[in-house]
């Protein structure tokens, strides 16, 4: 049974699950556990009650410790979460409203009125972000417009991970990479955009929490705040970053030329980019830019709704159970590239443009539909990835997340790229990344010395490579008829 002197704990608050990983200082993953992320509603759409989230996180931490038989105390905690969502606190630090889910699209009216008052490229030139209803700034505008009495009382805004950290330590702080997803962060200057905050927030920039680099301590766990957990005496709770980036960190994707393909409910394609890259960045580039995990670094990121899209199609096809999905997957694998002429053009989430399924014929079955949807999302990701630079510069693609368990999906990706891709098989890699970052805190027990994630190499299928080269051209023809575009890039 694993015995260790000190254990690092990573907590990952995801869209569908809250996950915990316990890692030793020598880099051994001792235990993982997870539970469903509790979801509620405010009558307008899905939300998260941050106290339910915190309570679930605590339960999963106890579960990881007990079920993993981990007898060493937790010496540092890192918390990561999805981006773009958070909660307002009132004058007495009372919770004023639940966290509106990051994928919520309720604020289209507010986005339009904000855009009317700002230059078209202003958002991108300041924040590196393209307009997207998911960004926190548009959730603030919605609260201001639809819940004015709530908004006027707001004194503090905390992200979801920050709220949990605050409840545990009494200290406020937000990682820079989370801050860079609010659309209120000046990416060149690495600080909050104060004039926008003054315009938008009830008490200006004072509402926003202090910024923290990943791996720095926000506060120390208050005694007795998480009952039933074996803890060291002084446990720092550490700022980490946006969940996808924390996963990239654990996967070793930290330098330009490497791409992380984080295949979760949302699919994020992330490449660390040189800061000089930003000087030439133009909004016509489809990627968003943001702060990276390592201090002062930047990343390019493209988001697709692939995981949700594939899961939605499985549900629509009545393949709700795992055995049914496995059968579909294995039959779709045997089908070969192109799904016998069926083409799926995924929706473009950013501009609310729906997609299409084209080329049905009588002989097509659910298997064809499934393969077409997987291929469509893979082709969309391939298209988005072209923005990350020419293929020669691309040295390594690493896949993480639930989608990377689909043999079909990663084979299609590898065959599209015409090169090997690496799939991390270490479970709950994002939670592991949060634990690794917890080890970076100066107040903690020290960094992990020897971290080697378990990886499998997925090779392209040689016969598929030329077929996908040609299918990629057909796909672009179909996609540009559904999503008219002035350039060769359509996604994200």
């Amino acid at each position: 049974m694993p015995d260790a002197t000190d254990v690092l704990c990573g907590v990952d608050i995801g869209t569908t699950h809250i996950k915990v990983a316990l890692v030793t200082l020598s880099g051994t993953l001792l235990s993982v556990a997870k539970a469903d992320t509790p979801v509620t509603t405010d009558g307008y759409g899905p939300c998260h009650d941050p106290d339910d989230v915190r309570a679930t996180a605590e339960q999963v931490m106890r579960q990881a410790q007990q079920e993993g038989g981990v007898r060493a105390p937790i010496a540092a905690i890192g918390v990561t979460s999805v981006g773009e969502e958070g909660v307002p606190l009132g004058p007495r630090s009372e919770l004023l409203y639940p966290a509106i889910a990051w994928y919520e699209r309720r604020s289209s009216d507010e986005e339009r009125s904000w855009s009317a008052g700002h230059e078209a490229d202003e958002l991108f030139s300041v924040t590196g972000l393209h307009k997207d209803l998911g960004f926190t700034i548009f959730k603030w505008l919605w609260l201001k417009s639809v819940q004015p009495s709530v908004w006027s009382r707001c004194r503090t805004w905390l992200g979801l991970a920050d709220y949990v950290t605050w409840r545990w330590t009494g200290q406020c702080g937000m990682s820079v990479s989370h801050a860079s997803r609010t659309a209120m962060f000046d990416l060149a200057k690495f600080r909050w955009r104060e004039d926008w905050a003054a315009e938008l927030l009830p008490h200006g920039v004072d509402v926003l929490p202090p910024l923290h680099e990943a791996g720095t301590t926000v506060g120390v766990l208050r005694p007795g705040v998480i009952p039933g957990l074996m803890l060291a005496d002084e446990v720092p709770v550490v700022a980490t970053g946006l969940d996808h980036l924390v996963g990239a960190y654990a996967a070793g994707v930290t330098r330009p030329g490497q791409v992380l393909d984080s295949m979760g409910t949302a699919e994020a394609l992330i490449e660390p980019v040189p800061s000089s890259y930003l000087e030439h960045a133009h909004p016509s580039i489809g990627m968003d830019f943001g702060a990276g995990i390592l201090p002062g670094t930047h990343i390019a990121i493209a988001g697709l709704a692939s995981g949700a899209g594939v899961a939605g199609m499985l549900k629509a096809l009545g393949a709700g159970t795992l055995p049914e999905q496995r059968r579909l997957e294995s039959e779709a694998m045997a089908l070969g590239p192109g799904s016998d002429g069926l083409t799926y053009v995924p929706p473009r989430i950013r501009n609310e443009a729906p997609g299409a399924l084209l080329g049905h014929k009588v002989s097509h079955s659910a298997v064809h539909l499934y393969r077409a949807v997987v291929e469509g999302w893979a082709l969309a990701a391939d298209n988005a990835m072209q923005e990350l630079g020419d293929r020669d510069r691309l040295q390594e693609v690493v896949c993480i997340g639930g989608g990377s368990n689909s043999a079909l999906w990663v084979r299609v990706k590898a065959s599209l790229l015409g090169r090997e891709v690496y799939c991390l098989r270490t479970p709950e890699i994002v939670a592991v990344g949060a634990a690794l970052l917890a080890g970076q805190a100066p107040e903690g027990p020290g960094p992990v010395t020897d971290w080697n994630p378990s990886t499998s190499v997925i090779s392209p299928i040689p016969e598929w490579v030329p077929l996908y080269r040609s299918l990629s051209r057909d796909f672009m023809r179909a996609a540009s008829s559904i999503h008219p575009s002035a350039c060769s890039r359509i996604y994200p």
Binding site: A305, A308, G309, G312, K315, A316, L317, G318, A319, G341, T343, P347, I349, E352, P354, G355, A356, L357, L358, G359, H360, K361, V362, H364, S365, A366, L369, R477, A478, S481, I482
Partner: protein, 491 residues
């Protein structure tokens, strides 16, 4: 058991044969059906071993008459149009039957389009692959040995009837769909046949639908478990039989039959004027059983598209039709049902023209089902509009066929067409029409009016509710994907 004389109607469809045993007054005494499979030896070819029709018909007739011990006084076969079977003098098929779905004769259709306008106008119809004339010309060119051996070129129901009676014959309703029939003079067109390298000597004599073709031969009688010597009428094309059996109460009525495909049929009041009124290919003009004519607008992707949705989306028909009760919504995806190809104007799409457009991540199983119903209803409305352009404008519609019975589906169709829909007297309309023809042939009915009085009066099943959104969605469909499959797919 009944001592009333019974009439037997056989409807030789594309995928199955239906047999109806019925009294003079319309009481159903027995039913039977049996299926068969088409083969596609090459892409675009559709064939069947004709003996499969005989096998299935024997089984279905035996089922229909099993519990009937009264007298059967007459028999008629009606059936699918356009197909072709070359036979020897005794009616033995020399090769598999080429059926209406077949698309091999595109070059021969081009030859047809080069015929003098006078000849083309007299045909009343725009040439299309799958019709008997182009198929026969293909056969002459590509299978000359078989063509030289052929004594007869028969259509499906005529082939089947010849197996029962030994007599070769056709009738105006089927002949008018061959592109070898002069609609003006109601006879085979020698000039057209010659121009296409054919001869009308290969075509059987044309006789009225209600004439007795011959007596049931002993060997066939034993196969079908029927008395030898039973009078067998000439019969008719299936759509002509269904128009007859719909017993339309007035001149502004039409019939919509929903099965694998969907057909609108409206009787024309002035046949002479109607000939040549629409040679675009959007509609057809065929001879009717009673000596007049009717205009037909056909859609291929009705039951075939919905059946695909049911099977692919792993649902059932009830669940599919239940979505018809949902409210109209602007954001529902648009379904393009051209899975098996479709025809419009002079063009046609190959299979693989189906699509769902406007799919977002928020759409679920039920939204896709609902959109499939809408897409098929839109396709049928577009065919109704084709009918309008050709001068056929029904104000009331009898709806029939296997795919017409669900009340929610009927209401949705009524909303899309903005027309009241009425039930038909029989769910097997063509087979019912066959029994009416048999009754007239053997003198059980004095004339067509007497025959149609035996069918139930159409009853209102759905009244149109005005819906602006339904109209807007139809226009979006009609102006976009409904016009043709998405451009990207026309490779």
């Amino acid at each position: 058991m009944t001592d009333k004389p019974a009439l037997l109607g056989i409807d030789l469809g594309t995928s199955q044969v239906k047999v109806l045993l019925r009294t003079r007054d319309g009481a159903v005494l027995g039913q039977g059906k049996a299926g068969y499979s088409l083969t596609t030896p090459r892409i675009g070819w559709t064939e069947i071993d004709a003996t499969e029709w005989l096998r299935a018909t024997s089984a279905a007739v035996r089922d229909a008459v099993r519990s009937h011990d009264g007298e059967i006084v007459g028999l008629t076969i009606v059936g699918q149009m356009h197909g072709l079977i070359p036979t020897d003098a005794r009616g033995n098929a020399l090769r598999p039957a080429i059926v209406w779905l077949d698309r091999r004769s595109t070059a021969e259709v081009e030859d047809y389009l080069r015929l003098p306008q006078r000849l083309r106008t007299a045909l009343g119809n725009c040439p299309s692959p799958g019709m008997a004339g182009p198929t026969a010309a293909w056969l002459a060119k590509h299978e000359p040995q078989i063509f030289r051996q052929a004594r007869w070129l028969l259509q499906p129901k005529d082939w089947l009837r010849m197996q029962l009676t030994g007599e070769a014959a056709s009738d105006p309703t089927d002949a008018s769909g061959t592109l070898l029939f002069d609609m003006v003079h109601a006879r085979w067109s020698d000039q057209t046949a010659q121009a296409m390298g054919l001869s009308t000597d290969l075509l059987p004599p044309i006789r009225p639908s209600s004439e007795i073709a011959g007596k049931l031969q002993p060997s066939a009688a034993s196969r079908l478990a029927l008395p030898a010597g039973l009078p067998v009428a000439i019969g008719a094309a299936d759509t002509a039989a269904s128009v007859l059996a719909a017993a339309l109460p007035g001149p502004r009525w039409g019939v919509l039959t929903l099965g694998t495909g969907g057909q609108w049929a409206v009787p024309v009041t002035d046949t002479e004027q109607a000939i040549g009124a629409d040679l675009s290919g959007r509609t057809n003009l065929f001879a009717a059983v009673d000596g007049g004519a009717y205009r037909l607008a056909a859609a291929q992707n009705v039951g075939v598209a919905l059946n695909w949705v049911v099977s692919t989306m792993r649902t059932n028909w009830e669940e599919l039709y239940d979505t018809a009760a949902q409210a109209w919504r602007q954001g529902t995806p648009l379904f393009v049902p051209y899975l098996a190809g479709e025809r419009w104007d002079n063009a046609s799409a190959d299979e693989g023209g189906g699509a769902w457009l406007g799919m977002s991540l928020a759409h679920q199983h039920e939204d896709l089902l609902r959109s499939a119903l809408e897409g098929v209803a839109f396709l049928l409305r577009s065919k109704l509009e084709d009918l309008h352009q050709a001068g056929g404008r029904p104000e009331k519609v009898v709806i029939a066929g296997g795919g017409s019975r669900h009340p929610g589906w009927q209401r949705l169709l009524s909303e899309v067409f903005q027309l009241p829909l009425f039930s038909s007297g029989s769910s097997w309309l063509s087979a019912c029409g066959a029994t009416l023809i048999a009754g007239v042939a053997v003198g059980l009915y004095s004339d067509w009016a007497d025959a149609t009085r035996s069918t139930a009066v159409p009853e209102l099943v759905a009244s149109p509710v005005p819906s602006a959104l339904a109209g807007q969605r139809y226009q979006r469909w009609r102006n976009g994907p409904g016009q043709a499959p998405p451009v990207v797919l026309r490779k």
